[in-house]
């Protein structure tokens, strides 16, 4: 009998210890929502399993608009609404019959992009979209050749809309991603892609003819934001892939994993960032000639005149969103700093992948003022994660709420998180 009692006590003790360990772990990692955050921050899941949630934006009344890359139940935009104030979306309205990435709100309009057009929807006085089935076409006919086809967008205060047009190519070779194929000079892709184009918000049905190539030499920009303290556009570039696979005698697998840097730029009109002729080597801290254009990994050539990054991030991390935090709720450290969502790498294989996180870079006078730190982590699913297909979540979009909170979207698990600062350690 006493043995049975002892056994029962043991079972209880083990169960209790297991539970205690779990709750301790939860506290250390702010595990609500499964994310690892700095002390004092808390994540809650606003919604999940939404589909391929790309960029997001929050309206003044708290509604969250999510752009889906692929249609879900025939719709490409979701409006998530929290009607009872518990930070969980309890009402979803879906509209828009096109997939895409870009979404933004400006001066009473919602702007959203497919991979070749930009549309807009007018809000009425009640902050409801007036014309969910009949948006105006602002821009049409942009290059969409599958690769790097996302058309991210941002607006300024002067009626301008900035649209990224990624190059449908890795390095502008005659035959893309093929060993031995030479780089094209001049690269014809740059006429209609590989940069950011400027359009107007007061004109419908604009094409390349009405647009201005605002900046060029950008292989693929998905993350961008307007910096109101500097009144300038800032962008993050996905650097080129496959230095080792395409040039095995010039680059090792290890070099391939660390070259080139993912770059963070201020983009002033007329700037040229160097793609496809140049790439940025973070170890040498300079732009060097790409091997498709005769480069040997050291020669600068024409690259000395190309714009350098404000900040160089590890290779292949894939920066998919940029957000300048203009709120006050996160504290002085974060005010006007830059959050960048890294979708996560694939081209570091066979070495360990990287990214799959949201980082923070402190900023001062429009420039990084210190080293980056990982702000939100563990999207992919912890240490055992090895390959992109196994990642549970991939951060893709960032937005700030009017209450100073930050939202993160994920295009793998379809999750939207709300991040707030509570101060509770």
């Amino acid at each position: 009998m006493s043995r049975i009692i002892a056994s029962i006590i043991l079972v209880f003790a083990v169960t209790f210890t297991a539970c205690a360990n779990d709750s301790t772990k939860n506290k250390q990692t702010a595990i609500a929502g499964g994310l690892k955050l700095p002390p004092g921050f808390k994540a809650t899941v606003v919604a999940d399993k939404l589909g391929q949630a790309r960029h997001i934006v929050v309206n003044s009344n708290g509604d969250i608009y999510v752009k889906l890359e692929r249609l879900k139940d025939g719709k490409g935009i979701l409006r998530l609404r929290d009607t009872n104030g518990d930070a969980v979306a309890d009402e979803t309205f879906a509209f828009g019959n096109y997939g895409g990435t870009g979404i933004a709100i400006k001066n009473g309009y919602l702007y959203a992009s497919s991979n070749s057009e930009v549309y807009r929807y007018k809000f009425n006085a009640k902050n409801e979209i007036e014309n969910p089935d009949n948006p105006e076409v602002i821009v049409k006919g942009l290059v969409d050749k599958r690769q790097h086809a996302s058309k991210s967008l941002v607006l300024d205060d002067k009626g301008n809309i900035y649209v990224t047009i990624g190059a449908p190519s890795n390095a502008c070779q005659e035959t893309d991603r093929t060993a031995g194929s030479p780089g094209q000079t001049p690269c014809p892709i740059l006429e209609t892609a590989g940069g950011v184009w400027l359009f107007r918000t007061d004109q419908l049905n604009q094409t390349y003819a009405e647009g201005i190539r605002y900046v060029t030499g950008l292989r693929n920009v998905v993350g961008l934001d307007w910096n109101y303290s500097m009144n300038e556009l800032y962008v993050t570039q996905h650097g080129r892939d496959q230095l080792n696979q395409l040039h095995p005698t010039q680059y090792t697998v290890e070099q391939n994993a660390e070259l080139p840097a993912e770059e963070f730029f201020m983009a002033k009109q007329g700037m040229d960032f160097g793609w496809p002729y140049c790439y940025y080597d973070p170890l040498q801290k300079k732009k060097v000639l790409a091997p498709e254009y005769g480069g040997d990994g050291k020669t600068e050539g024409q690259c000395g005149t190309k714009e350098k990054p404000l900040y160089a991030f590890p290779a292949h991390w894939a920066p998919n969103a940029l957000l300048f935090y203009t709120g006050t709720k996160f504290g002085d450290k974060y005010k006007n700093g830059a959050f960048i969502a890294f979708h996560g790498s694939w081209n570091r294989a066979p070495l360990k992948q990287g990214g799959y996180n949201v980082v923070f870079v402190p900023m001062k006078d429009g420039k990084p003022n210190g080293e980056y730190e990982i702000f939100a982590d563990d999207f992919a699913g912890g240490e055992e994660f090895l390959t992109p297909a196994k990642a549970q979540h991939r951060p893709c979009g960032l937005a700030m709420g009017t209450d100073g909170s930050m939202y993160i979207s994920d295009d793998k698990g379809g999750t939207i998180w709300k991040i707030i600062y509570t101060g509770e350690k």
Binding site: D176, T178, W346, L386, P388, K390, R394
Partner: protein, 137 residues
């Protein structure tokens, strides 16, 4: 009698050799194919053959890998740069042509992928690759 046994031995030997020739050792081909995969395919299709979501296609349990061998051999020899649906998803990156691989390497690597990542299918033979390469030229 001695003569007959020599003839019988030679006959058995001949049959054995021709049998091996017609039915190459699939295990050896898979082993060689793994090395080719690591060199030519792994970065894009990844160590687990699952590819990269929406960029580089998975190789596990897809009709492109397990189906028609000629089509599969053509993807390696000629590359593929068009919208292809694989198990309900689309993939953006082009597959580069790999004509520099030998017929042996292509047979081995395709036999490897057809028998890895949860796949099980017949071997791709050197003669299969040779025939398709001949049609392309």
């Amino acid at each position: 009698m001695k003569k007959i046994s020599i003839v019988v031995f030679m006959l058995i030997g001949f049959i054995a050799i021709s049998f091996t020739h017609d039915q190459p050792d699939i295990k050896a081909s898979i082993q060689r194919g793994k090395k080719v995969y690591e060199k030519a395919c792994l970065t894009c299709h990844q160590a687990d053959g699952e590819g990269v979501p929406r960029l580089n296609p998975p190789l596990s349990k897809t009709k492109q890998v397990l189906g028609n061998k000629e089509k599969l051999i053509r993807i390696v020899l000629q590359g593929l740069n068009e919208e292809v649906e694989i198990n309900g998803e689309y993939y953006d990156n082009p597959m580069p042509a790999q004509p520099q691989l030998t017929n042996q390497e292509i047979a081995d690597v395709l036999t490897f992928i057809r028998n890895s990542f949860g796949n099980k299918a017949t071997a791709v033979l050197i003669t299969d690759v040779k025939t398709v390469r001949g049609k392309i030229k």
